[in-house]
């Protein structure tokens, strides 16, 4: 009589297993909810960073636009002055050959002025002072390709960071959504285990153990896939 009272009755079979699975489920839910919260926070931070870099790159583009506008304005003025000096010097020679000495003097003064202005332009422009861009010879043109690469480098770097932050936001946002989906499905397992506890037929209870356990296992492996994905 003592032995039979220690054995689980037919109606009590699988209740302990259900209880164990339910406890396991609660631990799983705690971990999942923490992961979901963490993913959500990371998505928020990545979204913030993406917006910050968008603002920064916009500012940098504005600055590089102002800088290149100024530099090209000075370059254009310098080249114009150089050309004027060349043309006026030719004019001086022609006038001297034709015996127009007074006119040649005027043209010489104008040529000197153009040359002086070209020298000012070379002093004021990074395109003529920076060793990375300045012309290799006196009459050559600056290295505009390298200049354009340099002037846009910081803006491009900001845009690259902004793209990386936006990608991170999409990744963590998707993970957060996936964890939320898994949490929704795992709550069904809670329901299954609860119903399993309430039924009296042990075979039906076993059925609920299988169904609830399957849902738990699927959600577990899905969570692992989301975690390492």
């Amino acid at each position: 009589m003592t032995q039979t009272s220690q054995l689980p009755t037919q109606s009590d079979r699988y209740k302990t297993l259900l209880l164990f699975l339910a406890i396991l489920n609660t631990v799983f839910v705690v971990i999942l909810a923490s992961l979901q919260s963490d993913a959500g926070i990371r998505a928020t931070l990545a979204d913030r960073d993406s917006q910050y870099y968008a603002v920064a790159s916009s500012g940098e583009l504005h600055r590089s636009g102002l800088a290149s506008n100024y530099d090209f304005m000075v370059l254009a003025q310098t080249l114009k002055s150089q050309q004027e000096n060349l043309v006026l010097s030719m004019t001086v020679l022609e006038q001297q050959i034709q015996g127009q000495s007074k006119q040649a003097e005027f043209s010489q003064t104008a040529a000197n002025s153009a040359l002086a202005q070209a020298d000012v332009g070379r002093k004021f422009s990074i395109l003529f002072t920076d060793p990375r861009f300045k012309p290799k010879d006196t009459l050559g043109l600056p290295n505009l390709q390298d200049y354009l690469t340099h002037i846009n480098a910081q803006a491009n770097e900001m845009v690259k960071k902004q793209n990386e932050a936006a990608d991170a936001y999409h990744l963590w946002n998707q993970k957060s959504d996936d964890y939320a989906m898994i949490l929704t499905i795992i709550s069904i397992a809670f329901l299954i285990f609860g119903v399993g506890q309430a039924v009296t037929d042990s075979r039906l209870r076993f059925f609920f153990v299988i169904v609830g356990g399957t849902i738990q296992a699927v959600c577990f492996f899905w969570s692992i896939a989301v975690l390492i994905g």
Binding site: L19, A33, S37, R48, V55, S113, V120
Partner: protein, 218 residues
């Protein structure tokens, strides 16, 4: 044996008291979690506003710098022209130079200020130092007080607190679940009761660690 009998008899009462206590603790933890989250979002928001303000100031100061640089360049060109005209053998051109120097150059010089007003913004070769002017324009109390990173750092601290407290909230909620199951179940009462107590104790410990780090509830 006497204790077991006493405990089993009073289990429902003890569970009911615990449910009330856990409910209160859960509500408090959820409040702290939401406060941390709200603080984090507020700091993020403030950080973004500060970043946009800083960028707006920088944009305007760069615009002013390059505007003054263009004026300085125009002044330098006019100055060289006057210098050449002054050394001309022609009296007419020298007269032009005198008038330019008297009437035109002062206005151009004023427009080119501060590049023409201070040696600080000139390089040794006579060219202008744009970075020096921009740095000085940025060096105002209003702009120096704008630091988005400090708000972002505060936001990250608050998010870390929110993460911590959320786990505590979930542990409390799980504890509430198991205590309720213990109250309404017809069997396995003691097992579910102690499961609920376990999660409650872990949750309380979780929140107490947070409070100790904060130095009390703020």
């Amino acid at each position: 044996m006497g204790f077991n009998k006493f405990f089993t008899g009073k289990l429902e009462l003890i569970t009911a008291i615990l449910i009330a206590l856990v409910s209160f603790a859960t509500a408090l933890t959820v409040y702290l979690t939401n406060t941390a989250g709200s603080t984090a979002n507020g700091n993020n928001h403030q950080g973004m506003i500060t970043a946009i303000k800083l960028e707006a100031f920088s944009n305007e100061n760069w615009r002013k710098t390059y505007q003054d640089a263009s004026s300085a360049f125009s002044y330098a060109l006019a100055l060289e022209n006057v210098r050449v005209l002054k050394s001309s053998p022609d009296a007419g051109e020298r007269a032009q130079a005198a008038n330019f120097e008297k009437y035109l150059l002062p206005n151009l010089k004023q427009m080119a200020d501060p590049f023409t007003g201070s040696q600080k913004y000139l390089k040794q070769d006579g060219s202008i130092n744009l970075q020096a002017l921009f740095t000085d324009l940025q060096n105002t109390p209003e702009i120096k007080g704008l630091d988005p990173q400090q708000y972002f750092d505060l936001a990250e601290i608050a998010y870390a607190e929110q993460r911590w407290l959320l786990v505590g909230s979930i542990l409390m909620a799980i504890s509430l679940f198991w205590l309720t199951v213990s109250q309404i179940a017809s069997n396995r009462k003691i097992m579910t009761f102690f499961t609920g107590c376990f999660f409650f104790l872990v949750g309380m410990l979780w929140v107490i660690i947070y409070l100790l780090q904060q130095g009390g509830v703020s």
